[in-house]
Symmetry: none
Subunit: 291 residues, 2 copies
DNA sequence: AATTATTTTTGTCTAGGACAAATTATGCCC
DNA sequence: GGGCATAATTTGTCCTAGACAAAAATAATT
């Protein structure tokens, strides 16, 4: 019995809203689903795959009108062309291998070994950042499951929180509040940014994911933070991110700097002054020095 | 300038779909938004608050048709009735005080002191479990904000993950996979249960929150886990929890035990055999011994 | 080559209808 | 009064099809 997916399933799996799915069908003829007795849309797994690829390519600036007309093969081809451009470090290659083939308990050990060997800073920039991106991609492409992604996330969290605790806290320095925007569930980028800031001696108020804007403002004021840091993954709508950042900026006092980073901030529309975007973890130390 | 929210904002903030929001408006007259020039819905923060309360009460079996007709005051009243007046330990009292009045950085220190003093087991049962519940309630009652709750969560996470790592891992023992059901975002109960199991020498495969059922099954089989542990907070619909647990049971091999705990499992409808419910963290060691 | 204006593309919002699944109310028998 | 089948109501999700502004691409102008 072939698996069939409802429009909600597709929305959840691809992150493309049902409104958008319906209008793509109307305009481009894809994805054109079967209908059940109730004349509700009924998608195939192949259509899901195609949409996943399309979603990914959308992120790098291609237009849906073009992409919807391509078949699976053509989409794979373009995707591979894109992938060839970014080289995956050897360490990442190896970690991905462990993640896929197991043993499950080997991952933590390997992560810690790499951390010991390279030091926190290089570990973050050279291993975790590319690895986290690779894991996200592999999940999206269906090469690994949610299970593997969750496992990776937990192991990294364990390693980073341990590292964070072992860093000396030097009160008196400037303070930073760190969180993600409402709707953003991914917390690894946040944790990485937190470590980078902590390495620079910044005192951290870490809030986890999805803090309402009003509460971010309250936290920054009450905690006398000079920096508010927002982490944005690539899996969230750019426009939403932009709008929320602008709104947050307008709510924060001028004495507080607003910093945003992560792949979700890469191809962001023009940002007003007062919002500093980071394209790379490596830019953080410099920014802290300048303050 | 008063803050106004679009229907997408409301969907994101409350977790109630736009379709549902629109049809509630049509049927019950709430939430009735203003309109902008484009005749798009425009909600107030007060309406958001009301919807948040409604969403919570829906979880404990009340009907939207009734709730939508109540105003903010009445909703608060019902909420308070739901809450039983249980005695709060002195340590919890003190921690709550720190959480409310600050200093923010005092919380971690106090938590660690209590852990040192009482040992992990008593700390979990006597401090963290009641404290976590108290924090949830305080948030619900509006006595503390999301900010404070997030801060508490992160500090506890830090303490517990550190404690977890320092426990001796004894391979060869039975293994347990731990996670929450899709839709359940609260991970502290999960972490506490994890610690309890680790204290008994059980090898842990910790997956974080919201793992799809199929992936839980895959993880249990691939990882050769004899126990699958599910943590359910009180803030999720009981019926959904029950249905998902039953489905998960039917998907798991008979050799795997299914354990579920947390306040969300307390007043659960009749459960079939093969699902063990835990009303208290303290029951975990015993259950492990019996296996 | 750099701006500016125009056209096309795209996503989100709207309205109101339909229908099955879940829940509650009703009638009936023991 | 309690248990149980049946009818009525409640509720969420899906449907179509149209509208429109913001973003992006293209053309025209300086």
């Amino acid at each position: 019995m072939p698996v069939r997916l409802s429009i909600s399933d597709l929305e959840r799996e691809t992150g493309i809203s049902r409104d958008t799915l319906r209008i793509w069908e109307r305009r481009y003829g894809f994805p054109e689903p079967l209908r059940n007795q109730r004349s509700e849309r009924n998608y195939s797994v192949e259509q899901l795959e195609r949409l996943r690829l399309i979603k990914q390519l959308l992120g790098s600036g291609m237009r849906p009108g073009k992409l919807a007309r391509l078949d699976l093969q053509q989409l794979c081809q373009i995707t591979q062309q894109q992938r060839e451009t970014d080289t995956v470090p050897r360490d990442v290659e190896e970690l991905l291998q462990i993640l896929v083939t197991g043993p499950r308990y080997g991952l933590l050990a390997r992560l810690e070994a790499l951390l010991q060997q390279q030091g926190l800073r290089d570990f973050l920039i050279g291993v975790l950042a590319p690895m986290t991106h690779a894991v996200g991609e592999a999940w999206f492409a269906g090469r690994i499951g949610v299970l593997d992604e969750h496992h990776y996330t937990e192991q990294v969290r364990m390693v980073l929180l341990a590292a964070l605790r072992s860093l000396p806290q030097t009160p008196g320095n400037s303070r930073a509040l760190l969180t993600t925007l409402p709707g953003e569930q991914h917390g690894l980028g946040l944790l990485m940014a937190t470590c980078m800031l902590a390495l620079e001696g910044v005192e951290i108020l870490l809030l986890g994911v999805q803090t309402p804007l009003e509460e971010i403002v309250r936290g920054a004021i009450e905690g006398e933070c000079r920096i508010v840091g927002i982490s944005c993954s690539e899996y969230i709508n750019r426009r939403t991110v932009a709008a929320q950042l602008v709104r947050l900026r307008s709510m924060l006092p001028n004495t507080v700097s607003l910093w945003a980073g992560g792949r979700g901030t890469n191809s962001l529309p023009k940002m007003p002054v007062g919002i500093k975007l980071f394209r790379h973890l490596g830019e953080i130390p410099e920014a802290v020095q300048q303050k």
